[in-house]
């Protein structure tokens, strides 16, 4: 392994050699099958092995490892959510991030460069102030910034009051930041594989073996595989899987686009989000400006969206960061995100015994990768949710105990 510094580096180390055994043929029987070899599926397998001693696990990935949303997100990490339930699980996640590289023994370029969320109107200011105070009550680091303080931390932000959406203030979480998504996946995959987990790529689940309301295994393009317990961790494809298992979930799959600029000198040393003008920006280790915005409006599985959405976010970005005006767009892409009605995840039981679900992370799942796996592993291993994910049950849409993070998260997530 190369550098271990947490400072940003311009040159990344060489890509590593194979980190896990490329098993092509799955075994006939496993204790646990995890459907989905993205960040959350891999972290679930890792914590099942590490925290619960269950190592006879297969992670089934229909494409290639971490090639879905794990390869398509903008890697923002923060925990400053509004509601206690969200603060609980996301703060647990951030604490896990803070020791993750040492724990799994693998560099992930976790960089706590801070996350700033801008306010542009009186109502926006009030919502942000409410969020700031809620964070304080939950012992989550949070600072309130005036426009001048915003400028001190991020000199390239335009705080001129004479624009359509002036910067009136901001919340700031210094412990927030970014990590290198593919290295996070590789770290979890390597650590899980070292403990005996089988990672099987090119293996698509096409059905379930369900008898008397209980799951006994899955059908795949590589044949049937039996398991005592099955966890669905399939993000944008969760509805497809749930329907194969015979139930409905309150999820809509939508494209979420992101983009990067060409490589530039380091000019932007924090993460800035603006829910109101619909853009968030960080600068990657190599120098690309990484930007995201809101989802496209319609349901889709096509991993692409409309260019007018990109145009909208770039217009916002240029008003906030005038020096971006002459930057060239290098690449855009889309991922299919799993949007739940209250913008909060679903982690827990399904109507089928021994079949568990982890979905609904929508536009903000990357930051939750550690805690999502931690709580999902607990739920699968013990058969009961961890106290951190108990509020995020599927049945909250019947009981009405929603965890409404639309207001707190804005569009940027």
């Amino acid at each position: 392994m190369a550098t271990t510094t947490r400072r940003r580096t311009v040159e990344l180390p060489e890509h590593p050699d194979f980190l896990w055994t490329a098993r092509v043929t799955p075994k006939k029987v496993y204790d646990v099958i995890i459907i989905g070899g993205g960040g959350h599926g891999l972290s679930t397998a890792y914590y099942l092995a590490k925290n619960h001693g269950i190592t006879n696990i297969a992670v089934l990935e229909k494409g290639w490892l971490a090639g879905g949303n794990m390869a398509r997100n903008t890697t923002v990490i923060r925990s400053n959510y509004l509601w206690d339930e969200s603060a609980g699980i996301y703060e647990h996640s951030l604490k896990l991030w803070e020791n993750l590289e040492e724990e799994v023994g693998y560099e992930m370029f976790f960089s706590q460069r801070g996350v700033m969320s801008l306010a542009h109107s009186v109502s926006d200011l009030r919502a942000k102030a409410r969020n700031y105070h809620a964070n304080k009550i939950n012992d989550i680091d949070s600072e309130w910034l005036t426009p001048e303080q915003v400028k001190e931390i991020a000199p390239i932000v335009n705080i001129n009051p004479d624009v359509r959406y002036p910067v009136l203030g901001a919340t700031y979480q210094p412990r927030g930041g970014i990590a290198k998504h593919d290295w996070v996946a590789w770290g979890y995959a390597k650590a899980a594989a070292d403990m005996g987990v089988d990672i099987i790529q090119g293996c698509e689940v096409t059905g379930f073996d369900i008898r008397d309301g209980k799951v006994h295994g899955v059908k795949t393009n590589l044949g049937p595989i039996a398991a005592q317990k099955v966890g669905m961790v399939a993000a944008g494809h969760s509805s497809v899987l749930a329907n194969l298992a015979g139930f409905d979930i309150p999820i809509q799959s939508r494209p979420l686009q992101a983009l990067v600029s060409e490589l530039l000198e380091q000019v932007h040393n924090t993460v800035i989000m603006s829910g109101m003008v619909h853009v968030y920006v960080s600068q990657a280790h190599k120098g690309e400006l990484v930007m995201g915005a809101g989802t496209d409006a319609f349901n889709s599985y096509a991993q692409r969206g409309g260019f007018h959405v990109i145009e909208h976010q770039l217009a916002a970005a240029i008003e906030l960061f005038p020096i971006f005006e002459r930057a060239h767009l290098l690449r855009t892409w889309g991922g299919i995100v799993d949007i739940s009605p209250d913008a909060s995840p679903i982690i827990g039981h399904t109507p089928v015994d021994n079949l568990f679900i982890n979905t609904g992370w929508g536009t903000g799942g990357f930051k939750a990768t550690p805690a999502s796996g931690w709580t999902m592993a607990h739920t699968i291993a013990t058969g009961e949710p961890h106290e951190l994910n108990a509020p995020f049950s599927l049945d909250r849409f019947v009981t009405g105990h929603l965890i409404d993070e639309h207001g707190a998260a804005g569009v940027a997530h």
């Binding site: 309150p250 999820i251 096509a302």
Partner: protein, 92 residues
């Protein structure tokens, strides 16, 4: 950008429209619906990989709602139909 076939105005750019999610969602009987039925009405929408019957409103045009089949893999549009009229068959 999608090119959406408004049944009243013809094909127009997506930016003239707003999306209204799944079509053919009917209000439950308020006096007798169970919590599960309310939950289904409020929160559960089809999310198929393939053809999807959905609503759009031509907000920057004729301002009328309509239903249409659209493929969520290819973004291809199928037949449109007006609200409360018979749904055309799911395209093959």
């Amino acid at each position: 950008m999608l090119h959406i076939p408004c049944p009243y105005c013809g094909p127009r750019d997506e930016t003239e429209f707003h999306y209204g999610a799944g079509a053919n969602i009917f209000y439950p009987e308020p006096s007798s619906a169970t919590d599960e039925e309310w939950s289904k009405f409020v929160f559960i929408r089809e999310n198929p990989k393939g053809w999807h019957a959905e609503r759009w409103v031509h907000s920057a045009g004729c301002r009328r709602w309509f239903n249409v089949w659209r493929n969520t893999i290819t973004h291809e549009f199928g037949p449109t139909y007006k609200p409360f009229t018979e749904q055309p068959k799911r395209p093959a």
